[in-house]
Amino acid sequence: MTYFAFMGALEQGFAYGFLVLGVYLTFRVLDFPDLTVDGSLPLGAAVSAVAITAGFDPFLSLLFALLAGFLAGMVTGILSTKLGILHLLASILTMIALYSINLRIMGRPNITLLGQSTILEPLTNAGIGMFNAAPLLFGLFSTLALLLLLWLLHTAFGLAMQATGANQQMITSQGVNTDRVIILTVGLSNGLAAVSGALLCQSQGAADVNMGVGTIIAGLASVIVGETLFGCRTIGRALLAALLGSILYRLTIALALSLKLGQFSFTPSDLNLLTALLVVGALTLPKLRRKVSS
């Protein structure tokens, strides 16, 4: 693997890190399988791209993306809690609705950011190469997000959030409205996914309505790979494992793509197969480990 491929994987790993932290919140903390992210990630990209081309500050566009994603997640939460639609189905409904909404926001299937300023501009202006600037900035951002989540999960609301995922009867009898907790948490998770989309669109230079396909599988793969390799004893450890899992996942993909076996080499179209194999591997590894040790 070349240095550029390595830095590229880091950049993607950190950019998707927000999404992975969001997926950790829904799947692991809240026990709410949420596929909305397939729609909220391109939503974030669309909002950010449109905001930038309309002349808004690129950093401000991240905030817009966060808010848009938050609203999308809240819709899923409301469909599931207030209207009683099964969580998985509720999230799929929001996801497909977002496809149309994303097209409406962009007005066309994709927007390029050619010649527009992005959040990377201050760094590249300071003389840092593009390949170093993105991993650096995204790394900083995702670490900040991790620390914020670590704080949030230890607040009173965070405890209620954890209890809502683990024991709804208990937390309801402690006077917590679990509907509200679910709506806010799914909202937050999708806000994070949208920030991922915004970061990706700014580093790749384009937002595309189809860029969200398979997002949830990538997110889940990262969470599971992280958990398997780095453990999840404490909340802090689990959050760190999720972020590291995201980087490891992108590195694995990059490594596989650069692999050559005689005449054979992987192409980007093999990515889905590789992801599936990676998840299966990460899920069975702990069982194999137990078998070997016993």
């Binding site: 230890h154 607040t155 009173a156 209620a160 209890a163 683990a166 009898s173 402690q174 006077g175």
Partner: protein, 264 residues
Amino acid sequence: MIEITDLVKTFHQGSINEVLALSAIDLQVRKGDFITVIGSNGAGKSTLLNCLAGSYPIDSGHIVIDDQDVSRWPEYKRATLISRVFQDPLLGTCGPLSIEQNLALANRRGKPHGLKPGVRQNDRELFKKQLTQLNLGLEERLKDSVGLLSGGQRQALTLLMATLVQPKILLLDEHTAALDPKTALQVLKLTRQLITDQHLTALMVTHNMREALQLGNRLIMLHGGRIILDVSGEEKKAMTVESLLEQFYKVRGEEFVSDRMLLV
């Protein structure tokens, strides 16, 4: 003061499986009453508690707690006035959270759960003091996850959590039934101690007639969704298991059939 008037609850309404679980329950619980509730299986004991707590919506009737009509309040809102301990020791506590985090959640019952730190240092002092009265050594294990505790320990912790913020009424739904006899006795002792010390108003469902007679100042017997016996004070003190069974014959006017009732 809790007033229950004309409370009706039907399950599977309109279907072939329709069951009238509670038919026109009238009950006035005075402040400080410790009422034990007995009755055979399907009498409506648990349904009554679940309707009070708001887990089941009621068909008709009123539940008034200190002049507030809570009949239509959702369960989480009623939890500001009512606390409960379940039969299943796993239900009342949150396994993945630590002992202090569980207590912190209970310490905020009825208050908003905002962005303040979940557990603060002066909370820990309070929790330690409270845990000491359980005599289980839990005060030294604040950071241990509750999932590591035994069923009896979890039930004792649930009791403490239910009384940390004083409820208007404490609901105990056969909370010792899933424990071994020795642990059940300890939890029962703790129940009596907490209720007496804090002068709590409580409703305790039990299948054990002796227990029902020993504890509390008032006893009600449910059958077929109705209160068929309500004794308190000296009258209750004078009762024995035999006289209780006799009462049951008399009120029902039929042969005593349920073998569960004979398990004392």
